[in-house]
Symmetry: D2
Subunit: 143 residues, 4 copies
């Protein structure tokens, strides 16, 4: 999938998310997008709702990071199609995140005309393995 | 699985969740628990963060309802074991929820000594089918 | 979803599967189809490849029963569209099947114009709970 | 996870699978195991049951390749523990495989004392992207 061409850069993606998804605020910043992958980083303190050091119920935060990073990846590849919606998200919890920061690396496995399918690996610096892994499917509206 | 015995009633579950999971506040109330199932209801306006009429990014809310209803179901069956944690949650989005209320019906499919596995159907009154469906696995600590 | 209308009956489904999917032979017979559900039954001895009393690697058999029962359910609802293909199948293993027979009950959760989504519960008589549970998504070609 | 130590080499794995899982015959050979990953290769003609050029129902074959490659990966890391069993397998279908060969690359994401969790990417030479992707969880018996 190296031949995937990204049509939106990081600045354009941030502007698009801010306009279409104000809820995305506080879920970190896109730090790279290329080669069919996109990395989103969430720093500690960026949003007290999400990072709960010592907390066990960070499921919705991990869910949102996986969903948002893959959504941004889809947009970076197909351009501004706000009506792309999540069809399914399979989230597996692997390790308790450490305080500090989390990165979500979304990877495109298939970009079809109607469905985009990929996965996302969420990591926490200093841990010896990933925090969570997700399979994600988005439905793309007819264009 | 009709033989499953619920050891905590609704009042005890609400008290336990309030003590252990203040984050659960605003995610609705348990309206029934029995026969290996538990129903959680979230009413419109109960928490503006969650119900977004017309909004498309209700994923984290549906995720939390599925996770919380199944967690409460596990607790109702095994008693207060706060260290039970989500191992995986596969969420499939089916229909855009209508404003008003959402109900999550969690069902136990296997309650083992180490893993609890079930599913959850999320519905919105007035729609002609469910809003979302989840497969959920919890890990139960050794007792 | 009670309003779903089944357009093919059991005899028509068996004929269609035999013509289009000779591989389906040995995977049991459809015993009911209606109300958005379809039940497939596989009897012991019907095919020695599949039922392995005492065997542990019955995964592919359970996979095929889930896939085939849901496929037959889709066809019973939309008629003969052989190009419908599995998009994803999430299979959770719950209990070791007993020898004898297995039934797979497929249920439609959403029949859209492009995707059909549902689940499937596989049971074995005499066990006190299901053997496996699957979430299934099929892609339906444009008609 | 680079620190994972593989305790069984390819020859030992083949001998173990042959002894414990005669059903694995015809599902290809392990071509590498190291760094927390294992690659299984299935060549055309190796088993007519599995590779159906032009066929659409290769689901059980892809399921088995994902399951078997991850199982072999678990064994290569923990040694001969035949009672490790699949807990769940989420399989996403991406592209129709080309005739010729298939490779399944299993990757360990977390090797705990009770659960092993990872994923598997199935590829077909000549295609411009993967054929299938699986999330796999195995339960490991107490030792």
């Amino acid at each position: 999938m190296n031949e995937l061409r990204h049509v939106l850069d990081i600045a354009a993606l941030h502007a698009l998310l801010q306009r279409e998804f104000p809820q995305a605020a506080g879920f970190g910043e896109i730090v790279s997008a290329g080669g069919g992958e996109l990395v989103l980083r969430l720093r500690d303190g960026e949003d007290d709702r999400h990072l709960r050091p010592g907390g066990t119920l960070s499921g919705p935060t991990l869910f949102t990071m996986a969903d948002l990073s893959f959504y941004a990846l889809v947009l970076s590849l197909i351009g501004p199609v706000p009506l792309a919606v999540t069809t399914s998200l399979n989230l597996t919890f692997l390790r308790k995140p450490a305080p500090g920061e989390l990165t979500a690396r979304a990877r495109m496995l298939k970009l079809g005309s109607r469905l985009a399918v990929g996965d996302c690996l969420i990591e926490s610096p200093g841990l010896d393995g990933p925090v969570a892994h997700a399979q994600v499917t988005y439905s793309i509206p007819p264009r």
